[in-house]
């Protein structure tokens, strides 16, 4: 499904990485093929859509999420690359369910500083971690 807001946000990220506020921002996640996949999402989207998007780029991604007040960046990296074992494997009582939004999922990642394992969703050992707010121009 085409979402004009998502298209607009994708363009905003690309311009900021090339010649905007993110010029000096290091993209921390590298794919198996050596590239830097940049995945975008909106907080109001279903988390299932986001997980499918991450799966489609190979399970590793530099993820940018647009909310109503801020943009957050999350690293989705291999479990073996994680400095510490992920805090959660999406089995806790307050784990976002299948109808949760991307915003709820990123909030959950923020509550687990060592990351949240999403291996089952993206097809290989992987975790989401290091949520941070990024400023756009």
């Amino acid at each position: 499904m085409v979402n004009p807001l998502l298209d607009a946000f994708r363009r905003e990220v690309n311009v900021n990485l090339a010649c905007g506020a993110l010029v000096d921002f290091d993209l921390p996640v590298t794919s198996d093929h050596g590239g830097h996949p940049v995945v975008v999402a909106l907080e109001e989207e279903r988390v299932s859509a986001l997980l499918g998007r991450i799966r489609a780029v190979g399970g590793f991604a530099n993820l940018f999420v647009r909310g109503s007040k801020q943009v957050r960046m999350v690293s989705v990296i291999g479990d073996s690359c994680a400095i510490a074992t992920p805090d959660d494997v999406m089995t806790g009582d307050d784990v976002p369910g299948p109808t949760a939004t991307v915003g709820m999922f990123i909030d959950y990642v923020e509550r687990n500083p060592n990351g949240v394992a999403i291996s089952a969703a993206v097809g290989h050992p992987s975790c989401a971690r290091d949520s941070r707010v990024v400023e756009f121009a």
């Binding site: 363009r11 690309n14 990485l17 010649c19 993209l27 794919s31 590239g35 996949p37 975008v40 489609a56």
Partner: protein, 100 residues
Amino acid sequence: MRDWDAPYDDSNSVRLQFIVWHRRSTLIDFVVNVQVLTSEGWDTVESFDCCHGHCHLHPQNADLEPRTIAQLDTVDDVVKAFAQVEQEAHDRARIIRDEG
């Protein structure tokens, strides 16, 4: 130099590939490729670059001459050219995606 790939659909079948160069945090050169996934991997169907003092488009048909988008005399010209290229590359990727 930095590079990144921006998927244009949820199945990652169309993407833009960006390769950019900065000097003191200012954009001085770039390549933008419009790519589609094929059975043999990623195929670049259109490519934008800044060789020979001009920003230009290399169209999918190799028989066609590159099309000049902007002349590059100053660093500011590179930033302005990137804005034009980002728009054109976005339109192209969106059309390919929406045709699919």
